[in-house]
């Protein structure tokens, strides 16, 4: 008797679970459909529709297409302060390496895809725009000693794009203004006044991002997210995760001296090393065969040896 009771309870529990799984369908119904099928009353449905209108828009509501245009302008602002380093083979190598890492990320697909470009400056710096343009300075690349080290820098920048840190730096009020603009939603092409108004919001949004990238820096939490994303990407692609620690240690040595760029906008490298040490899988990727290691080292030296 007792055991049958257990069976009955198990059956009931299973039915409850099955019932719960079905609830997802209700959540997917439009307010009107939900009302007509009797799941909610008409007034409840109207209230659902009203609250949908009242939802504040956030960076997540930007489409990849809008992120693309924001990112292009952020890139143009960066190239206004820094010259690109037009060493063809070095940039080709950076693009091959970067693309390999992007494919191993959670967000391999962007509206216009990823591109990588070296900046001609001694300053130790790297930037990622929301459109997938990743800049790394010659000064930054000089801190590296291997392909695995360069991979760590690029993977960190891809991590910022994965987490949309760039567009999240835009103040919410600007997005609210943008999303209520008729230039965002009108059927007819926007007139000069609407375009002018939206361009002001666009200008302010670009400033929010470039101020963060160039002056104030992301929060320690955001840097940690990008570092953890980098570790995941490196492990998936087959690179040595400890490349990130090596690069941070090299930065830490320069950190003491202070200076512009990466060092002024990023948390103390030693703090970042402490933040990620527990997340590093022991021995990951470091066991790449000697032949593979030498291929990586040869192509790194051939293209970035004299950076």
């Amino acid at each position: 008797m007792k055991s049958y009771g257990v069976v009955w309870i198990a059956c009931t529990a299973a039915l409850l679970v099955a019932g719960c799984a079905g609830l997802g369908d209700v959540a997917g119904l439009g307010a009107g459909a939900a009302a007509s099928t009797g799941y909610v009353t008409t007034s409840q449905a109207e209230s659902i529709a009203r609250s949908a209108q009242d939802i504040a828009r956030s960076a997540e509501d930007l489409t990849p297409e809008q992120e693309y245009y924001i990112g292009r302008s952020v890139g143009a602002v960066i190239l206004d302060s820094y010259d690109p380093w037009d060493e063809q083979e070095a940039n080709r190598y950076l693009n091959l390496l970067g693309q390999s890492l992007a494919l191993a990320s959670d967000r391999p697909e962007l509206f216009g895809g990823y591109r990588f470009q070296i900046l001609d400056t001694e300053e130790i710096n790297a930037f990622a725009t929301p459109s997938g343009l990743i800049f790394v300075s010659r000064g930054m690349l000089r801190l590296t000693g291997s392909e695995d080290d360069v991979a760590a820098i690029l993977a960190h920048e891809i991590g910022h794009i994965e987490h949309q840190h760039g567009v999240k730096a835009i103040r919410t009020s600007r997005l609210t203004t943008a999303f209520s603009s008729s230039a965002m939603t009108a059927v007819e092409l926007a007139g000069p006044e609407e375009v002018a108004a939206l361009t002001r919001t666009f200008d302010d949004s670009i400033s929010d991002i470039t101020d963060t990238l160039v002056s104030s820096g992301y929060s320690r939490g955001a840097e940690r997210e990008a570092d953890l994303a980098a570790l995941r990407i490196l492990a998936r692609a087959g690179y040595d995760q400890s490349g990130l620690v090596r690069v941070l240690q090299a930065m830490d040595e320069v950190w003491a001296a202070g200076g512009p760029g990466f060092l002024s906008t990023h948390p103390d490298p030693q703090d970042r090393i402490d933040d990620i040490r527990s997340a590093i899988e022991t021995g990951s990727g470091s066991a790449a065969p000697a032949a593979t290691q030498s291929v990586r080292q040869n192509r790194y030296r051939a293209t970035l040896g004299d950076v």
Partner: protein
């Protein structure tokens, strides 16, 4: 005791019936509309960037997703069925040529996005004119195209993995 047993068997029978009838319903329910949210992507035979390309999909193309696996979505676009990376898709309906009704819907819900609106080429041109910023270098850098064969050779020679990638 026997009554209790029968009750349990009946409950079990009802449960089995619910599960059996429920499975096709759940499968049908799992088919959800998706739109391509990037300029261009590929529908592939298998879930992975090495999968053979069945067809190229364009921004705003709409299909039905069947299942998701390690960051890849199995979906049907027109007559073609295959796999596309989930990061190239959105649950929003992307409207390329909006009507008044689409606009109203886009303004009141998060389910609809209008292509080419808001921050677009027109706004960028106005911004460039006002700031005097040069976009030629950006265009040049974006124009750089990697040869897929070269990328594959780079991956293989460097002992890099694509099998786990893009999850």
């Amino acid at each position: 005791m026997e009554r209790m047993f029968r009750f349990c068997i009946n409950t079990l029978a009802v449960f089995v019936a619910v599960v059996l009838l429920g499975i096709p319903a759940l499968r049908a329910g799992a088919q959800e509309a998706r739109s391509v949210s990037v300029r261009e992507t590929q529908l592939r035979e298998s879930p992975g960037f090495l999968g053979r390309v069945i067809t190229t999909l364009a921004y705003g193309d709409r299909g039905d997703s069947m299942q998701e696996q390690n960051g890849w979505t199995q979906a049907r676009f027109g007559d073609s069925e295959g796999w596309v990376h989930t990061s190239a898709l959105t649950t929003k309906r992307i409207v390329l040529d909006a009507s008044d009704r689409d606009v109203q819907e886009a303004a009141s819900s998060r389910e609809v996005a209008l292509a080419g609106r808001g921050f677009n080429r027109q706004v960028e041109a106005q911004y460039a004119a006002e700031t005097g910023l040069d976009f030629q270098e950006i265009d040049r850098i974006e124009g750089y195209a990697l040869d897929p064969e070269e990328l594959l050779a780079f991956l293989q020679a460097g002992g890099l993995s694509l099998s786990e990638g893009g999850r």
